[in-house]
């Protein structure tokens, strides 16, 4: 089998060390790093769609993501050298007072797996911390996750804080998490909402190409 296909397949199966070995092999075979990256992206894309469609579950996605990082970590330095650019930069975090981070982590993994650069602020991220991170990193997208009705409102506070810092127009704001809806996103002035990680990636890509 084609080694690139093998990378993608093993990623989907969550074979962490196998993916590392195969990526090393591919590099030795002088396969272009961007092509190798392509195989990781392809594999992670399949994982995202299968998760969206309820064919696989959270633990399987987390394991596949570990396999993806086993490959990605090897080629990242080389990608930087070749001057290959990310398709966009994302700052992401779970909002203040909320510890639920599984969903946020899945979104982050899928985005990295799709070629975005992602800066993860973790959980319990205050509006001020989001603002600081936007200043420091100048991302294209700010992603916020909230899982509880009591913390959802902190998304609005963050958007207000971005406005006060004159940064709101410079970024695309995406929101998500179990209780969040399209309507709520519109009400608080976010640019986009996504129901799952796979859709989040698709929307992020579309929003960025619109912006540019």
């Amino acid at each position: 089998m084609d080694i690139l296909q093998e990378i993608s397949d093993n990623l989907q199966k969550g074979q962490v060390s196998k993916v590392g070995i195969l990526v090393k092999q591919a590099l030795e075979d002088k396969i272009d790093v961007k092509t190798i990256l392509g195989s990781l992206i392809e594999g992670m894309g399949v994982v995202g769609r299968r998760f969206r469609d309820g064919e696989i579950y959270v633990p399987e996605v987390l394991i596949a993501a570990r396999a993806m990082y086993a490959g990605l970590d090897l080629i990242r330095p080389l990608l930087v050298q070749t001057g290959a650019t990310y398709i966009g930069k994302v700052v992401i975090g779970t909002v203040k007072g909320d510890l639920h981070d599984i969903g946020k982590n899945l979104v982050k993994m899928m985005m990295e797996g799709a070629g975005f650069e992602v800066i993860d602020l973790g959980r319990d991220v205050s509006p001020e911390k989001f603002v600081e991170a936007v200043k420091a990193n100048q991302p294209d997208i700010v992603g916020m996750s909230a899982l509880i009705t009591t913390t959802m409102v902190n998304m609005k506070d963050t958007i207000e804080a971005l406005k006060r810092a004159n940064l709101r127009d410079k970024v695309i704001v995406m929101v998500g998490g179990a209780p969040v809806t399209e309507r709520f996103a519109a009400e608080i002035g976010a640019d986009s909402y996504a129901k799952d990680a796979d859709t989040a990636v698709a929307k992020a890509k579309a929003l960025i190409s619109n912006k540019r």
Binding site: G54, V58, P59, L62, R66, K96, G97, I102, T149, P179
Partner: protein
């Protein structure tokens, strides 16, 4: 019927004289201190400066006192343990003002001193020289777990480390339960719940994985790592669950000797198996790693006691409710009707003859926090009429009543419940 008879009838699938109401019978049918205080003040049961006692120090749930229980005609009373999540006793209460100004009472060993940013930390066994195990961010509503997990060394992973906090009930605890259960049974007519369950039966609850009562937790102590382990370390998880089950059944025996038939419902499992749109884990994970042990535990209870067993699992559990039933659970909570495939009609029709719904009383993700009082009333009445038919239902909201629920909605909920039950409550 008195409260106890009413609940016994409902959980045996016989229609009681009126819908039973639970508030505070479990730590997932409780009410956040802020909402509780607002409600009690509005009902004239507390003065604005009168404190609320915190009975769950992580989720920050308030104590339902006798005045409120009588006023709202609540049918349950919990038999609580003496120790909390951090492993110290809830005693010697002291005042503390919550971030939003709510006056509270907390145990002596509860740390109220904030750090520079205003965050509050708690410590295992109340020992402030240890690393903190949970943190409440300034202006937050709950405590969050502080990740104290260490990188996992597969070679040295063992069941004993993973179950360090899983212990047999002590003589002191048992005599306390014996005395308390007698007091509650003889002095009240409420149905007695056992909210914490016994150590050992609550297999794989991610809430407990971090080991908050331990100063140096070993094994798998990070929630994400735990979820992954359900796939990658199946044998280990199976061994852990087997050992827990052994301890759990031993504890059930001890508890039974102490409380006899005085309690009516015991919490067995509060592991979440569902997420918003479907299961959190593959169905096979439940079937292979949990179900056989749950069955052993439930069988023991049914063979030896008159207690009913309760499983709490959030999210969309639809796909494994048949497995819960086969595993012998009598009662399901919180019945998250807002998750996929969890509509009241569907659940009642498909599973109503086989499992009791303890919850599902209102959609806590939309209607309750964000709807109008009228929408709240309508939904409460509709859900009662669907779930209540023929018994098999105890009214409770989906999970605890959180903070930031508008007062009008809090009042509307209890007004609607009591309307249906033909009770007029002053102040509602």
């Amino acid at each position: 019927m008195n409260s106890r008879e009413r609940i016994i009838s409902a959980i045996n699938h016989r229609e009681p004289d009126r819908t039973p109401l639970d508030l505070g019978g479990f730590d997932f049918t409780g009410i956040h201190v802020s909402s509780l205080h607002i409600l009690e003040v509005a009902l004239g049961l507390k003065k604005p400066n009168e404190p609320v006692k915190v009975v769950d120090l992580v989720q920050m749930l308030g104590e339902i006192d006798e005045k409120l229980r009588e006023t709202l005609e609540i049918d349950t009373i919990p038999l609580r343990g003496q120790k909390n999540y951090f492993g110290f006793k809830n005693e010697n209460w002291k005042p503390w003002t919550f971030f939003d100004g709510t006056p509270l009472l907390v145990p002596e060993k509860f740390n109220t001193i904030p750090d520079k940013e205003g965050n509050i930390y708690q410590y295992p066994q109340g020992d402030t020289s240890a690393l903190p195990c949970v943190k409440m961010p300034k202006d937050g509503f709950y405590f969050d777990d502080v990740d104290r997990s260490k990188p996992i060394d597969e070679e040295s992973l063992n069941v004993e480390d993973q179950l360090e906090e899983c212990k047999l009930l002590t003589d002191e605890e048992l005599s306390y339960y014996e005395k308390e259960s007698k007091r509650l049974f003889e002095e009240t007519n409420y149905a007695i719940t056992f909210p914490s369950g016994v150590s050992g039966t609550n297999l794989g609850d991610s809430f407990w994985i971090p080991g908050w009562s331990l100063k140096n937790p070993r094994g798998i102590r990070n929630q994400e790592e735990w979820y992954i382990s359900l796939i990658t370390r199946k044998d280990f998880i199976r061994d852990v669950n087997a050992k827990m089950t052994e301890i759990g059944i031993e504890n059930l025996k001890l508890l039974h000797q102490a409380v006899g038939e005085r309690i009516q419902v015991i919490m067995i499992s509060s592991t979440d198996f569902g997420a918003q749109n479907g299961l959190l884990y593959p169905k096979e994970s439940y079937q292979e790693l949990f179900k056989p042990f749950h069955k052993r535990i439930n069988d023991w209870v049914h063979r030896n006691t008159t207690w009913k067993t309760l499983i709490h699992s959030c999210g969309s559990d639809y796909d494994i409710i048949p497995d819960f039933i086969e595993a012998g659970f009598d009662i399901l909570n919180p019945v998250q009707i807002s998750a996929a495939k969890m509509e009241p009609e569907r659940l009642k029709k498909e599973f109503g003859d086989h499992i009791v719904f303890w919850g599902g009383g209102i959609n806590t993700q939309t209607t309750f926090p964000f709807g109008t009082p009228q929408e709240v009333e309508e939904e409460v009445k509709k859900n009662i009429s669907i779930f209540g038919e023929g018994g098999g239902f105890v009214y409770a909201t989906v999970h605890d009543i959180q903070a930031r629920i508008p007062l009008e909605n809090l009042l509307a909920l209890f007004r609607a419940v009591n309307d249906v039950r033909g009770i007029k409550v002053q102040g509602l």
